[in-house]
Symmetry: D2
Subunit: 269 residues, 4 copies
Amino acid sequence: MEVVREGDGVLIYIDEKRKFVVKVQRGKILGTDKGYILHDQLIGQPYGSFIKTSRGYTALLLKPLRQDYVTSIRRVTQIIYPKDAALMIYLSGINPGSRVGEAGVGSGALTVAIASIIGDNGILYGFDVSKKALECARENLEKAGLLHRVILKEQDVRMDLNVEPLDSFFLDIPDPWNALVNVSKVLKPSSTILIYTPTINQVERTVIALQNTGLFRDVRVYELLLREYQVEPGAVRPLTRMIGHTGYIIFARRISQVSTLNVQDNSVK
Amino acid sequence: MEVVREGDGVLIYIDEKRKFVVKVQRGKILGTDKGYILHDQLIGQPYGSFIKTSRGYTALLLKPLRQDYVTSIRRVTQIIYPKDAALMIYLSGINPGSRVGEAGVGSGALTVAIASIIGDNGILYGFDVSKKALECARENLEKAGLLHRVILKEQDVRMDLNVEPLDSFFLDIPDPWNALVNVSKVLKPSSTILIYTPTINQVERTVIALQNTGLFRDVRVYELLLREYQVEPGAVRPLTRMIGHTGYIIFARRISQVSTLNVQDNSVK
Amino acid sequence: MEVVREGDGVLIYIDEKRKFVVKVQRGKILGTDKGYILHDQLIGQPYGSFIKTSRGYTALLLKPLRQDYVTSIRRVTQIIYPKDAALMIYLSGINPGSRVGEAGVGSGALTVAIASIIGDNGILYGFDVSKKALECARENLEKAGLLHRVILKEQDVRMDLNVEPLDSFFLDIPDPWNALVNVSKVLKPSSTILIYTPTINQVERTVIALQNTGLFRDVRVYELLLREYQVEPGAVRPLTRMIGHTGYIIFARRISQVSTLNVQDNSVK
Amino acid sequence: MEVVREGDGVLIYIDEKRKFVVKVQRGKILGTDKGYILHDQLIGQPYGSFIKTSRGYTALLLKPLRQDYVTSIRRVTQIIYPKDAALMIYLSGINPGSRVGEAGVGSGALTVAIASIIGDNGILYGFDVSKKALECARENLEKAGLLHRVILKEQDVRMDLNVEPLDSFFLDIPDPWNALVNVSKVLKPSSTILIYTPTINQVERTVIALQNTGLFRDVRVYELLLREYQVEPGAVRPLTRMIGHTGYIIFARRISQVSTLNVQDNSVK
């Protein structure tokens, strides 16, 4: 049975609204409105077991998952929702060992999720123009124990990127259309690009720009709606409130530069 | 520049309705209603390049992604849609090196997706009661080059499973409530279970059964709606037809057996 | 040009969150956090024109629509959302002159909407078991100038209803399955029943009960999701938050009692 | 008990895919792939009763509802779906006696629905530039017994309309932005306009044009998704396939021309 050790990342789950991801350090205290918990209490406890707060509330000790790091992340920007990160990563085709690019990294939520998938043999280049964002992302990656897989660069991806060819690129910047040519230069033939954008106007400009480069095919635009259900015996129903919109996901595949001329693409028509 | 070699899996993309995943073998022919392609033509071509069919249609040569294997899979059962597989894998927390269970494997679509994520250091136990399903899954895993990561077992998961503790279990059987106790025995404390089920009645029974075991917490029920958009300059709109329902996704986390008594769980209320 | 007169119902629209329906009476004052408005100011103003509050904010004078009465209604119960009321009324087939039943009336929101459609030659019987609800509904109908079309009855619709045959019945009670036989007795052959219910378990019980009576056909179950969009030039997107669930709408048609035996109905299978 | 008489419109319901609205005429025959039905058989039958086709299939005799006329309508154009017609009519505020405009009428589906609501004291002006559409609409209105409430005009609404002030206008043309000024001239202050349009680009142009006229306020943009459920005892779920997109609904209210200057509207921001 695996137990909590000093230095571990731990998820302390009191209830739906009180989930805390902490790095266990002797002498430290987690304070909550349901009472405090001494980190010393946690050490040696089995994962999946319950402890009590100082006020007698029950808390569950869990290993943090990808999404626990993501939702507990310190934020300097809007983050990509798990439903969207999940589909983008799935469609990207990235796997253990993949070489990936991301811009802008923002608070590093998607960065954490990508880094968890590529394993220790993969590499992720994370670009952002904001020093503050990069610092926040670095801190969040460190907490998740994934920083060694990521190279953070303070750079505008509308300028030349200086990296070896990549298997996939994730683009979440306000004007993706301006970055496509540069990004395409570091994408292997047959690789994927995933673009995330909140307005339908950005979708339109980006899709047209993708097609105009002549370097991408199989362009698709998706939107996900997530409903959560409430289950009481004899009373099952969706939750009354939901997130009505996050962003649109654009997918495309990089082709080789050799034979792009005069070939029609009708994939999104 | 990477080129196609004999033995490679290749995606031949003619148009949205004509996507073929083939294993390249000298002397073989791919026949389509847009003309045939000799496998010998493919060898030595760079990925991302275009070739012509015998009738002069253009086809794009791509490396198959996870979802290309999944959608081109030979089927003996209904398969899980990419949108659902993506969220289930994301929420499961599986990563390179994870030890995972799945039942029933059916045609192996989700099996391929899970196996692609866990890497060569991970292991996936795939259970099914149908010999025909297992054969189909084996064939599809082989085609995707992932069979070495998977141990397929002809077994009913409502009976004792004989595997070492797992990090996550994916359950897609008609009566998941009958398998929970058995599955819980092979799940590590703090691990995840992901259940997929098409009717709301199955959701209700499963959630109640999860709660009654006293072995799971943080139970959640999700449903995803995927919209695809059509982008023509000046005329952006969602597609007229969409898949209105696939299935519900139930998530829960296994707790340690030590301290489950008298602890309320309100996570789905 | 039509102007506001004493006794008129008027909608005073300051902004999206400050919409007030008032009955104009000399000497009265409408107080708001953006300043007050004297009713005397309103009299003689053309509809569609602007006035100023005491603090200088601009307010628009409009004739209240059905939905303005509904959303400004005094509430003692949860009310039916416009999207649902709209579809229920549409599917009911009610028109000027229709004879309609409704139970329970609750705060009278749907009652106002139905009464506005049936005209002065129609009649609506509104049933509720709560005196408080009936008083609230009466007040809201009066404010909307529609009380003369409605007969409010303090009665449980699971008991015998004593009204002449109706063209349609709207049922919004916790256990509609217990009222179906009674309601069917006051429905003309070929008439419609519209049932509104928040959980999927109530849907299931109600549909099975409808089929078991042998008195209804063409049973259908609907759910509506409403997205609202934000339009700024160059930045169109759905609103971030939305109502994820209100209730399910069940539709069925009353058949004549003569020939119901041994006839299969597969309408919702 | 009401019975079918010669000249009645009748809905003959065999199953979900075989619903026929016919005008009963002695000597006529309704032919279907489940056998024929003589109109003479229908006369004298009570509404809500069952008859047999020549091949022994059971058919239900019903009074056609608004939506039965709409879905059985002869079409020369794409028609507005009931879910959308329902919300547009609801939001329009039209009632018995209302004076309404519509352009273009197309096949007359929305025309039938509006005409059924306004009663014999209301009037609907239906505009279209296509003679063929107007003929189709006339035929459909006649079949529904509603033609006497509608004045059909072969006219482009981007040209001057010559009608007395209206309570509401329904606009379903490809370029609604070009018609707004003309339509505004025949709208009473405080009246409503409802615009239906399939692409998000048309939404953007229309909303901006509405705001630029300075003649409309309370502009809103809606989209409805309709899910239909399948109910078998113990197996409730949404239908697998659904309509993913029909069109967007834009709502606005006409203000008086007097005081529009320098007044900000933030309703859709």
